[in-house]
């Protein structure tokens, strides 16, 4: 695809917006022909986005009196989908999150693990006060 499809949403990191944004991501992915016969991939991408957005809303601006900004960018290439989440809060590297011991039932801390499980790549970077999480999913059969 010479011109990948792009959409960018500048928003406030607030759980109030979790569901509308989640549904936006879900409906976008559902419309991509590559995922039409892969409903579990659609569920997985929605879940990964949900977990990432929830983490930023809950933790990135914790302790501040105001809700902070978050930018969401989705880029659809020929063979993959990339979702970027950018915030300006406290940095948090998912690479430092330990793999959960699944023999011990947990009431939290599975979000990052779900992101890694359902996406093909999850890269986190911090630069000039901006934290960026890139989540990439290759198209099935590509």
């Amino acid at each position: 695809m010479d011109n990948p499809i792009k959409v960018k949403i500048d928003s406030t990191a607030d759980l109030l917006l979790l569901r509308p944004l989640d549904l936006f991501v879900r409906q976008l992915v559902q419309q991509l022909p590559a995922f039409s016969d892969h409903p579990s991939d659609v569920d997985g991408i929605e879940l990964a986005f949900n977990e990432a957005y929830t983490n930023v809303s809950r933790h990135a601006y914790k302790g501040l009196n105001t809700k902070g900004p978050i930018s969401i960018e989705i880029i659809v290439y020929d063979d993959r989908l990339e979702i970027y989440l950018e915030d300006r809060g406290t940095s948090f590297d998912p690479a430092n999150v330990k793999t959960p011991d699944l023999d011990v039932p947990r009431d939290g801390g599975l979000g990052v693990w779900f992101i890694k499980k359902f996406m093909d790549q999850a890269l986190y970077s911090t630069c000039d006060g901006k934290n960026v999480l890139l989540m990439m999913k290759r198209f099935p059969n590509s």
Binding site: L15, L18, R19, D22, S40, D43, E46, L47, N50, E51, T54, S57, R58, P100, L102, D103, P105, R106, D107, G108, G109, L110, G111, W113, F114, K117
Partner: protein
């Protein structure tokens, strides 16, 4: 979220989504219900099409709260998406899960 009582069993029917928005409410609700000892609770997930880590966490916390108060909790009618997460997290070994509501009710007798 709807709550009803049937034959001494409390049934909580969760909404379309069990996510970070409603997980705290579920935990609080179960905490109040569990104040009575030996509470029998069924979480009916029939309407819930989407569950996330917060939702899974709320279910684990609910089960813990009930067990602490000599109660018990069963899960009924999880969606394919919920079943996938329960298997992935091995929570299908922790929860008693029933595909049928009558079976879930009978399991308490």
């Amino acid at each position: 979220m709807e709550i009803e009582k049937k034959d001494g069993i409390t049934i909580i029917s969760t909404d379309e989504r069990l996510d970070a928005v409603v997980a705290p409410k579920l935990k609080d609700t179960v905490k109040k219900i569990a104040e009575e000892t030996s509470t029998k609770l069924i979480i009916d997930l029939e309407k819930t099409k989407f569950i996330d880590s917060s939702g899974c966490g709320a279910l684990v916390a609910s089960l813990r709260t009930l067990i602490k108060n000599q109660g018990d909790m069963k899960i009924a009618r999880p969606s394919p998406q919920a079943q996938t997460l329960f298997q992935l997290t091995r929570l299908h070994r922790v929860f008693e899960i029933y595909e049928d509501m009558d079976q879930a009710i009978k399991s308490f007798s």
